[in-house]
């Protein structure tokens, strides 16, 4: 899928796009499905489906626990791909695999790309895989029409950002602050300058994530980037208030988009 074209066409009708996140297998595959139905109803633009891992070093407490619980319930790689396949068939938004490198390494790069492409995914985000370690993963993802999403972080030098940016396709995942997922980000503190640095390093659309929790945050990002990423906040909302509260937050995010 040409993600870049898709993103540009969606931007015709809204100021910013919304990418949301599901940890497959937590709290259950059934609940995951209902989350996706709500995302569809809220006309979410892109969705990350996270493959759980036992050592999720880039994730904060909410997601770390969710990874662990999903594995405790026995979620397997087969079930993950099966869920991805059903989701891409049923829902119109592009789906991205998010997960840690060991899953890819154990499958082999080739099998990973074959299976991911066969179940209709648009690309992948692997937070613990530096560009030096891609090797044939770049070529294989090209061959299978998958977009490898590059990650930019605030501590990267401009030279490093440019180097990473050259490898990324579809859009760039810009990390809005230091640390791991799930902690609130103060968007007033220099987010525009950071977004400008990120933008200078790549010509694909820019997404910002980590600590984006509500409608006000999304509005603050208007003009700074093309995509707002909301992950932990939605899961926390489901945990504290169930489907109704989850739907409310999705509506709030949806309204903040235009």
């Amino acid at each position: 899928m040409n993600l870049r074209t898709y993103i540009q066409s969606r931007l015709g009708s809204r100021k910013i796009l919304l990418m949301t996140h599901v940890i497959v297998g937590y709290p259950s595959l059934d609940v995951n499905w209902r989350m996706l139905e709500q995302m569809e109803r809220a006309d979410v633009d892109l969705v990350e489906l996270q493959m759980p891992f036992s050592e999720p070093i880039a994730d904060g407490p909410v997601f770390a626990r969710a990874n662990q619980e999903a594995l405790k319930q026995g979620l397997s790689v087969d079930e993950y791909f099966d869920f991805m396949g059903r989701a891409t068939e049923r829902f119109g938004f592009p789906h991205l695999m998010m997960g840690y490198y060991n899953t890819v390494f154990r499958l082999t790069h080739r099998t990973f790309c074959e299976r991911l492409s066969r179940c209709g995914a648009a690309g992948f985000i692997i937070p613990d895989l530096p560009i030096e370690e891609y090797h044939d993963l770049s070529r294989l993802s090209d061959e299978h029409g998958l977009n490898p999403i590059a990650l930019f972080t605030p501590t990267n030098s401009d030279a490093r950002l440019a180097e990473i940016g050259r490898r990324g396709q579809g859009f760039v995942y810009g990390v809005a602050r230091r640390g791991v997922t799930g902690k609130r980000t103060d968007l007033k503190a220099g987010i525009d300058a950071l977004a400008a640095r990120y933008r200078a390093a790549s010509d694909v659309p820019l997404a910002l994530g980590f600590g984006i929790a509500g409608g006000n945050d999304v509005r603050q990002l208007h003009g700074s980037c093309e995509i707002a990423i909301v992950g932990s906040a939605l899961l926390e909302r489901w945990e504290s208030g169930g489907e109704e509260a989850y739907t409310e937050l999705l509506d709030e995010l949806q309204n903040a988009r235009c």
């Binding site: 891992f53 036992s54 070093i57």
Partner: protein, 415 residues
């Protein structure tokens, strides 16, 4: 000596053969690069190693001696057994070597805070000691299970001024404490250094830890030459993450005639599924986690398994990429000792030589005891005793099921 291993790097940064690398979130990249630069600069400065040796001499009593275990040698009827006494270090184990070395690096980098993971608590105590001496803020992450079973070490870490954070994630042991350190560091890197305790994790940690720990091997080499006039025929070390084994082996790695043997935690037995043997046996397989590529105890899909050992310090999913490389090249051999063998070896060493081994270190003793009868009387064996066991009294007394100790605990608890 470390450099001869690094020649296997295939022009890829931080690799030892096919193992190592730096698989971390990009946020840590700059910090790791800064650490690489600081370490390279220090390594090239001849006064740095001398400063390190001087600190280890005045603060930790180095060089630690080798002891000829005459009674044990006679009882086993095979080789002459010599023991490298890392148990005689300040804080009771070889962990202090790496910690004081990284402390010197922290001073060069000008950071104000250190964090560290700990399993058994020895690395945590050593780090808290270094932080107290250098006036640094210190946070120690420790799995909740380990906090339970190593209370005395928690007590000392807190008394030394460290903040001890109990980690409830995952299996609540050493690997989870490492994850938590990486997460802390992803936020705090500007003023914080992560004192990783073993020769694992992302580049440059395996290299840094091995470089400081090679002080063990260098001393062993000189001391064995002085005591016996030649190099040992065989060397035994216990292997958790692998820092004492790497440090000892580096003294002999270029001497092909010296056989290097690492002893991993066999737990309830290699066929029981309840052990922590990554290189011995067939349960370990290549993977990438916690920032590096090595042999892990994991399932087919790459999810890490629960490990087991009577020794908390060996209860870990991964192993140093340097040791994975030495195994692959055939330079070192890896075996496992069961909990049962280890407790027997612990008592044999205690009764015959009056040396109280840490349960981790007793794995190396168990390996030597098992294999010694097959070796000739004209051969010499060196065993590294990585740490002492007297401060692990709660764990050991429980493992030995000591009735007097049990009554003592009940009386204390009843008060």
């Amino acid at each position: 000596m470390l450099d001869s291993l690094l020649k296997n790097v295939e022009e890829r940064t931080g690799y030892f053969g096919a193992y190592g690398g730096a698989f971390t979130p990009e946020i840590l990249r700059t910090t790791l690069d800064e650490l690489i630069a600081a370490f390279e600069e220090a390594r090239k400065d001849p006064s740095f190693w001398e400063a390190f040796r001087a600190v280890m001499q005045s603060y930790s009593g180095r060089p630690t001696p080798i002891t000829h275990l005459e009674n044990l040698s006679e009882a086993l009827g095979g080789p002459q057994i010599y023991m490298k006494r890392e148990d005689l270090n300040h804080t009771g184990s070889h962990k202090i070597n790496n910690v004081m070395g990284q402390g010197l690096l922290v001073a060069r980098m000008g950071k104000k805070r250190v964090i560290a993971e700990t399993g058994a608590g020895q690395h945590g105590v050593a780090t808290a000691t270094m932080a107290a001496r250098l006036g640094l803020d210190c946070t120690i992450y420790m799995g909740a299970v380990d906090v339970e079973r190593q209370r005395p070490n928690v007590f000392w870490m807190e008394r030394l001024g460290a903040k001890v954070v109990s980690v409830e994630d995952g299996s609540a042991t050493l690997k989870d404490a490492i994850n938590q350190c990486l997460r802390d560091w992803a936020f705090s890197m500007d003023d914080t250094h992560y004192v990783l305790g073993t020769a694992c994790g992302p580049h440059p940690f395996p290299q840094i830890v091995a470089w400081f720990q090679q002080i063990i091997g260098q001393e062993c080499r000189e001391q064995m030459m002085a005591a016996t006039g030649r190099l040992p025929d065989r060397v035994y070390c216990c292997v958790g993450g692998g820092s004492n084994a790497t440090g000892t082996f580096l003294g002999f790695v270029d001497d092909a005639e010296v056989e290097l043997v690492g002893i991993e935690a066999g737990g309830a037995g290699l066929d029981s599924g309840r052990h922590a043997a990554r290189l011995a046996g067939a349960d370990g397989s290549p993977g990438v986690a916690q920032g590096y590529k090595t042999y892990f105890l994991q399932d087919e899909e790459g999810q890490m398994r629960h490990t087991h050992s009577v020794a908390a310090g060996l209860d870990y999913i991964g192993v140093s990429p340097i040791l994975a490389c030495l195994r692959e090249s055939g330079r070192a051999r890896f075996e496992a000792a069961t909990d049962e063998e280890v407790l027997a070896a612990f008592q044999t060493l205690l009764r015959r030589e009056g040396i109280i081994a840490a349960l981790e270190s007793a794995h190396a003793v168990a390996g030597a005891i098992r294999e010694a009868p097959g070796m000739g009387p004209d051969t010499n064996v060196l065993v590294t005793l990585s740490g002492r066991g007297d401060k692990d009294i709660f764990t050991i007394a429980q493992a030995l099921n000591d009735p007097g100790w049990q009554r003592f605990l009940e009386r204390k608890a009843g008060r």
